[in-house]
Symmetry: C2
Subunit: 435 residues, 2 copies
């Protein structure tokens, strides 16, 4: 007779933003990258994916999955199947080895996943989404410590390459590995969040009507056609991984910023060198680059060091990294030159009460006195209101969190966190927190 119990687990997982970029696969099926990459994990208090997985004999239609309340066909996604099957396989072998464990590996799964950031924010959700999926299945099936967090990252990698980096908090390296079966292509922690908690991020969401080239297709076009990408993979990234490791260990922001910006530009150069060329940055993206370069130039003249780093993924949005104490000035700069961006003041930098919301038509922010005097006026100008349409202020964060679990001997967290109701269907669509 089948087990009548319902087992359930709910986890959240963070977004990560690479400072050494992943671009190119050597195996598209196993998602094995052509080069190492390194990322900063952002705070789940601001941006996260949440997933609930429930296992029950009562789920008669077999495995089902809902993304943001809409059912998706699991069988259509080799990547989803790979993640679920790998987790199940490990659970099954544990059940076979330990008769005291509940027999849940063969029970159908109902999985619900939600992001707390709207698609309109222009942030990729696949990394946090697949990380949350794998963390949730690992929690449901109690796969740790049988599997290490790096083992879980290896599974998440098969869902979405960069998802492997969202299994850890802080600073995370994805080692490309050399094995054809992908067994050594996984994430490792370079440093935890606690190592450098003052590192913050300001995401500038840039308006762009056009759909860009999807990164999965784009990176393989680059692998096939760009002579510069081959040089990047073999000769540029390895040295930068070493430099970035040093920068993080020493909390050397100047070096961190230099390598981050150079690598962002190097990646976009390889996209441009692709045939046909791939453009992710637009005129607003480039204007943000020029603003930050001018600000760093004046900062280097004054202190010998950079104060901000920009980096761009496969889209026009800028992610700016800066030390906490520098953020008010960076925010004022961006709000001055790119007026009218929506902004939730989570950190109460504008002094109107924590999490005050600033929408639309505010006047251009005033600049700290004296700041722009050294700027090249031909290049640095106030841009059309709304060309940056939203600012998201966050910081380095931790890895996946178990929000609720009722499986095996564990019963932790608050059942209210679950996205799956007692009937096994999506309980409610979490109110997407506007961030």
């Amino acid at each position: 007779m089948a087990d009548p119990k319902t087992y359930t687990a709910t986890c959240s997982a963070p977004v990560n933003i690479a400072v050494i970029k992943y671009w190119g696969k050597r195996d598209t099926s196993l998602i094995l990258p052509t080069n190492d990459s390194l990322s900063v994990t952002l705070d789940q208090d601001h941006l996260r994916s949440v997933t609930t997985a429930s296992a029950s004999a009562a789920f008669e239609a077999g495995d089902r999955l809902w993304l943001n309340g809409i059912e998706e066909q699991i069988k259509d996604s080799k990547r989803l199947l790979a993640c679920i099957q790998e987790c199940r396989k490990v659970r099954k072998s544990r059940e076979e080895a330990d008769a005291s464990l509940a027999k849940m590996s063969d029970l159908p799964l109902h999985i619900c996943s939600e992001n707390n950031f709207p698609t309109a924010a222009g942030l990729a959700s696949s990394a946090s989404g697949f990380a949350a999926l794998v963390a949730t299945l690992a929690s449901l099936y109690s796969l740790q410590p049988t599997l290490s967090t790096s083992d879980l990252s290896r599974i998440a990698r098969q869902g979405s390459g960069s998802a492997c980096r969202s299994l850890f908090g802080g600073f995370v390296a994805w080692q490309s590995g050399t094995s054809p079966d992908g067994s050594d292509s996984l994430a490792v922690e370079v440093a935890p969040k606690s190592h450098w908690p003052s590192l913050q991020a300001l995401i500038c969401v840039v308006s762009d009507a056009k759909k860009g080239t999807p990164s999965t297709a784009g990176m393989q076009q680059s692998v096939a056609t760009s002579p510069l990408l081959q040089h990047r993979i073999k000769n540029v990234v390895p040295g930068r991984m070493v430099e970035m490791g040093k920068a993080v260990q020493a909390k050397d922001f100047d070096l961190f910023a230099e390598v981050t910006m150079n690598d962002s530009n190097n990646f976009h150069a390889c996209a441009l060198d692709t045939s046909p060329p791939i453009f992710y940055m637009n005129d607003t993206s480039r204007a943000i680059v020029q603003l930050i370069e001018e600000y760093n130039r004046s900062s280097i003249e004054e202190t010998g060091k950079r104060r901000v780093a920009y980096t761009y993924d496969a889209g026009p949005n800028a992610v700016l990294y800066a030390e906490e104490k520098e953020v008010p000035t960076v925010l004022a700069l961006v709000r001055h030159y790119f007026p009218n961006a929506d902004f939730d003041d989570t950190f109460n930098l504008l002094g109107a009460g924590a999490n005050a919301s600033h929408r639309g038509a505010q006047a251009p922010a005033e600049l700290p006195s004296g700041l722009p005097k050294t700027f090249n006026k031909d290049i640095i100008q106030v841009h059309q209101p709304g060309s940056v349409r939203r600012l998201i202020h966050t910081r380095v964060g931790d890895g996946p969190r178990t929000l609720h679990k009722a499986a095996d001997a564990d019963n932790v967290g608050d059942e209210k966190e679950s996205l799956v109701g007692p009937d096994g269907l999506p309980l409610r669509l979490q109110r997407a927190k506007r961030v």
Copy 2:
């Protein structure tokens, strides 16, 4: 007693647009490039620089030079001095060897130079300008055949690197050479204009308020900071020079287009990989790239071959190359998606009489029926009127022309072509033909 005669010569020289780009010097003083480059010379009937050089003992203030009617200080420009001194030196040694030659090498020079294209056209004038200067001094001093055209290109190179390529018509290679003194860094003819006279060009002048990074400074920043540029120089350009040579010899437009576009993107990728990054293309430039890529994609589906090539120098303007028979469609495409561009219909493609001028508010051009059906509508859209503000239609052209000469035994051409009056001062500013 000084020779009381005034010797004078007037020459014109063409613009050239590289299809394998020059970016980086190995010697900034001698202007020795880091890589070979290859260009197409454009027709002087449409775009040209004209220079008159007069030599007379009566010019008591010594050498003087006027550019577009405004006097410049020759002594402030090492590059101008280098070109003038080299030509004089060769003349002097010829005079010493041949007593029948007029002793004009020591006479002061008055030089006037003008472009027939307004600065606002966004076209670099240094290449045609220095080519016209050297061609004029060579004519005045009767330096040929003592010096070959390649010898003259070596002199012009010291004025402006790409000027060396404007000494020849047709298809021209600038061989970077290896000698530290620059003696083997010169231009050679790959094929004359007559080899492939059906090759035409459509210059799309793109609106851009911002001043870009000057190419002289920009290329040395790239040499100093871009890891990708080093790869381009050593491993990308050499193979492309061979491919482009084959394409020109075989008049293989498809290969010509492929290599031209790849090399333009490769050059701009290296500019982007520079620290701080250099941006020359803007959103309009990129939209033209995407239009041409889509058109070529649909053409490849239909015929297996590309029909248009784009290339971008150190600025946002596109130069499109196409075979004569393809130009009406290319023109219609550009005028449809980028409405309201000023256009002088020199080739009478629009049928309203040769050289009819189309200014401003015309309606978007109609597309050839069926053409855009296969275009990706997410990418290819009608752009804001005036984002391409002028179109210049021209074709492959010949090398420098002697318009007038009265020196040594020669008296050729029409004295009315001279830019210097009998008093040795600028005669008039040639009416800049609006092109």
